[in-house]
């Protein structure tokens, strides 16, 4: 047996050594990052439902590179399948950048995750399923009880979504890419996926990965932002108890139906997202318990698992090594930071305009990372004043954040193509 044969047996190691230095280092780095994500998910620092499949997918895809046979290599690279053509590096997981129909039909039969990616991920279906699940979990009664305060705070917390757009353009991204990365400020993964798929298909892989990595950090980073921007005296402010307003399920259902119809009429490009969100709300409020258990069980958790797995598998070094990724990493954190600051400024405005009755910390809950940011706000307030309750108002702002992010998604996917 020759040394060459041994290398053929261990193709994973051979392809690693055969890679250019940049790819080799990136593959090793991404394998390590994958392990770190699994660890942080298990420890609860990052969202485990997403990070454990994502981290494992990242490890597997970067470890499992092999020399593809000429036919498969030709399908992946979309080049001619010439006899004796050089074997290309690839995996048997999926080929995200394949565009030609013939190549796609071939790859669908070879790569094991390709059918799920092509039929559920790359067309935004999985984002809509996750959104449907979010809809089932939302109690819009919190918004209906205080619509103006909730929508105002949510809009302030969209500051990053809007302000990052010109910053991204100044940093060299085109309008479509700038709008897609700016959506990270909305702190809503499905919206970022939907916007980047609609506006910047070439960059949707790194944008979505950056978004989901950073969204996991909101739970860890925003408490420091609250402590930095709101003094302890104000953080511990007790809000005067308001008489509980009873919102019936009829009222919530009416709101869901009318809001869905009006928003779809205003932004048909984002209609799949509005429909998915409000069908979740409607099913819950109509008391269709079989549908509720189906959506908040198999649909939501199944979609989240495959979303995490596919995001991890998309993090193959050759796909993710785009010169724009560094810019995206910077802009993603800028967007979330500006949204957090905007939310707290909104909280301060509410505090002053209400005659110093509203706790400014609820502003951060306008960032629509349901229900993480509302829980973060309550936790920070409770640390200063144990019996201060701001959760109902915070949840109102939080749920409104989902609606305002969907509105901004609609505005971006409708208006940005007109600018370009």
């Amino acid at each position: 047996m020759h040394f060459h044969d041994i290398l053929n047996v261990f193709q994973g190691i051979t392809t690693l050594l055969d890679s250019p230095w940049s790819i080799l280092v990136a593959r090793l780095g991404l394998m390590l990052l994958g392990m770190v994500l699994v660890y942080l998910g298990k420890k609860g620092v990052l969202e485990p439902l997403l990070m454990i499949p994502m981290g494992l997918g990242m490890c597997a895809v970067n470890a499992g590179v092999l020399f593809l046979d000429p036919v498969t290599a030709a399908a992946v690279t979309e080049g001619p399948a010439a006899a004796g053509a050089a074997a290309a590096h690839g995996t048997l997981m999926m080929a995200p950048l394949v565009q030609k129909t013939d190549s796609l039909m071939y790859i669908l039969q070879v790569d094991f995750l390709q059918p799920i990616y092509t039929f559920a991920f790359s067309n935004g279906l999985i984002a809509c399923f996750v959104f449907m699940g979010i809809g089932v979990l939302l109690d819009v009664g919190f918004v209906l009880a205080r619509p103006f305060l909730s929508m105002f705070l949510a809009l302030c917390a969209e500051f990053g979504t809007v302000a990052t757009f010109p910053i991204a353009v100044a940093m060299g991204l085109n309008y479509r890419e700038a709008a897609s990365i700016a959506m990270v400020g909305g702190a809503d993964g499905p919206m970022v996926l939907f916007t980047s798929l609609t506006l910047a298909k070439d960059l949707f892989v790194p944008i979505t990965v950056v978004a989901y990595l950073y969204l996991g950090l909101t739970y860890g980073g925003y408490p420091y932002l609250i402590r930095f921007l709101v003094p302890a005296k104000l953080r511990g402010l007790k809000m005067p108890p308001k008489p509980a307003v009873k919102i019936t399920s009829d009222e919530k259902l009416t709101f869901a139906v009318v809001a869905c119809t009006v928003l779809c009429l205003l932004f048909p490009s984002a209609a799949p997202l509005f429909l998915s969100l409000f069908v979740g709300v409607a099913v819950r409020e109509a008391g269709l318990n079989y549908f509720v258990s189906f959506i908040d069980g198999p649909v939501l958790y199944g979609s989240t698992m495959f979303l995490g797995l596919l995001l991890g598998v998309l993090c193959e070094a050759s796909t993710i090594l785009n010169p724009k990724v560094l810019i995206l990493l910077i802009l993603g954190i800028v967007a979330l930071l500006l949204s957090g600051i905007g939310g707290i400024i909104g909280g301060y405005l509410a505090y002053y305009f209400s005659g110093r009755k509203i706790n400014p910390c609820i502003g951060i809950a306008g960032v629509s990372c349901v229900p993480s940011t509302a829980k973060v706000a309550q936790k920070e307030v409770s640390k200063v004043t144990g019996d201060a309750i701001i959760l109902p108002e915070a949840l109102g702002a939080n749920i409104s954040g989902v609606i305002t992010t969907a509105i901004l998604t609609g505005i971006y996917v409708t208006l940005i193509p007109l600018l370009t």
Binding site: M151, L155, T248, D250, A259, I403, L408, Y412
Partner: protein, 40 residues
Amino acid sequence: MKTALVSAVTMYALALVISMAVAVMIKGLYAVVRRLTGSK
């Protein structure tokens, strides 16, 4: 860059108008549904 800045401000203003319209709609619907169902 200037176009991007103007567009961002315009889009934020549009989002403000629509969000407040949604809030007004919520209030209006609330009143209508209360009246129709006869609840307080």
